[in-house]
Symmetry: C2
Subunit: 350 residues, 2 copies
DNA sequence: CTGTTAGCGCATTCAC
DNA sequence: GTGAATGCGCTAACAG
């Protein structure tokens, strides 16, 4: 372990003062070409790594409190967006020595008008940075361009939008999600049986980007293998229990060869509960994310597997990256990342 | 986000000086009962959280370089113990602002004498802390009691030993490992087929703790379900390729109903390669950890699934915890932990 | 036993 | 354009 150099030592080696080195490091201007060259030279030859801890301490002196606005869908406790929120709050608490003022602006994930309203209010507010969900593409595009005008940086969680470059973006690879779902369904159900691919029925709005990607990847998996499976696509209500029960049991009555149900969103527990309510057993059910409801069904044995997109980490990293950006400017590495996917069964839950 | 209090502010509220607050916080003695009570009172009412960043900065002043000795099995690049090592090195580099001097003492994982020799040399060396593997129980017990005598703290990776309380211990729950292996094998192979449970043939030494736990948990899973599967236990060589190929193909010839092979150590790629060499396909193979060889077989499709024990994290957390202990003394939370298990298929590799 | 003080590495004035 | 000086919150050594 090579001993770390300090700014002061770099300065000495370059024949300048610490202040100048700092100016070079953070390119905050006004450095003569010669000084610049000298410092750069030492820097590259000595692989300097500055000390984040100290830096954070020194920053406190300036007492500039950061204002962070977070706009994501509201959510019941333990549901998907609440997990993202949990991760955000954890990061906020871990970095509480930079005093950060945070404000949530929630919207209804099934209502684009509510999203637009939320985003409009943000565009007017004054803040240091924004973290947002990208469920609605035009709304996101609009907000981002307005933030760009004000020079306010923003980060995405759970998704991205073609053509926009946020400072940070943490999400799961939706194509990989769909293929993994297909692989697990294929492995856990007997050959020759059929599969169902379920998505929620939405009111008014178009299908979410994420669901669409997962579905096409799911089907692609089997197409590549010569369509060895019959896939039934169906929609279901996420809210009305009576309706769900009827839909699910009706569907299985009409399609008796179905041995597995893949749910493309995080509400798979709804299906598990419907099956249990109708006394149907032996159907493999799989879905996404370790929400409270899904974890319960996994434990109860009515749900077979989950694909974890790590919503908490998405939230955590988004905050971390935005902070990093605000303090130290752009850094090339790992500000945009597809998080790894985990498979969760009853046996490795927690 | 409540604004953070500083030690100085706490001191003011308690009517004492910052130095006294520091003494209370780290109970480094010599504080009058009254002062103690006053500070404790303020502390609990104001939920003070001291600033780790600043603390780290201040520590540098003392220039006491920490000496860390790490004793684990040597390992080829990309193998299990090398992954643990990777995690250790990452932590060492992340915490390089505390200047830490580290030294590895490797031993042969298949030779207890080599372990004893390594541990003996450590017991004589002077250092601040030790991180070690617990493969050999008597050797570990011996070393720990000698370290205890010198007051040198130590941490375990990959396992634990009954009756010893290290400062930190990061490992996977071996019982859960075995059950998960069983669950996956059961799910991925057709009902009615048989399974094989393979362990490495060791020379001289007893079976490792971890392997034994996994095997019994594996069998327990099926026993609970009324022995719905026939399980064949078998040993295999890990080094001699000719021998392995003969063993594996011979075994399958004698047991034609076997549809899945579960390997209880991280060398499952050896089995996959043997199957491929013999042109045998259609057998489900599962094992442990994303080593270089296993990852290759997963990609090639000759290995079906892996259970990831997160060796890198084990190493990382061990270093982190030991450092935390050395700087701030014992802390109750999360110094001993069973890491979560992940399931890795070709579709979610990396 | 306790308060005071110096200094960790860095960011940021403020003179020159 | 640049260097010197100040202080962030905290630790540790020292004087009382």
């Amino acid at each position: 372990m090579a001993q770390q150099l300090t700014i002061k030592q770099i300065a000495q080696l370059a024949g300048v003062s610490a202040g100048t080195v700092d100016r070079v490091l953070h390119n905050r201007g006004k450095v003569s070409p010669e000084a610049m060259k000298a410092v750069r030279g030492v820097l590259s030859s000595q692989n300097y790594k500055y000390n984040l801890h100290t830096s954070a301490v020194a920053f406190r002196k300036t007492k500039k409190s950061l204002k962070l606005i977070i706009s994501i869908p509201s959510s019941e406790k333990g549901e998907y967006w609440d997990l993202i929120r949990t991760g955000i709050d954890e990061a906020l608490s871990e970095y509480n020595d930079f005093d950060i003022e945070s404000k949530y602006v929630f919207f209804d994930q099934f209502d684009s008008a509510s999203c637009r309203e939320a985003f409009d209010s943000i565009a007017e507010a004054s803040c240091s940075a924004v973290i947002m969900a990208t469920l609605y593409v035009p709304e996101t595009q609009d907000l981002c361009s307005r933030l760009d005008k004000h020079g306010i940086p923003y980060a995405f969680v759970d998704g991205s939008v073609e053509g926009i470059s946020p400072v940070a973006c943490f999400k799961a690879d939706q194509h990989a999600c769909g293929r993994l779902l297909a692989r697990l369904m294929d492995g856990f159900t007997p050959k020759g049986k059929e599969l169902a691919l379920l998505l929620p029925r939405r009111t008014g709005t178009q299908m979410s980007n994420n669901s669409a990607s997962r579905m096409s990847a799911f089907k692609e998996y089997f197409t590549e293998r010569g369509k060895v499976r019959t896939i039934h696509e169906a929609q279901f209500s996420v809210s009305n229990v009576e309706e769900i029960n009827a839909e699910v049991s009706g569907f299985l009555k009409n399609n008796p060869l179905v041995a597995g149900i893949a749910v493309v969103i995080s509400h798979s527990y709804v299906i598990s509960d419907a099956l249990a309510a109708s006394g149907i057993i032996g159907i493999v059910v799989g879905g996404f994310d370790v929400t409270a409801g899904n974890a319960r069904c996994l434990r109860e044995g009515t749900l077979d597997f989950l694909i974890n997109q790590h919503p908490e980490r998405q939230g955590f990293y988004a905050v971390e990256s935005i902070l990093h950006y605000l303090m130290y400017g752009a850094s090339d590495d790992m500000l945009k990342e597809n998080l790894p996917l985990d498979i969760v069964l009853r046996e490795n839950l927690q």
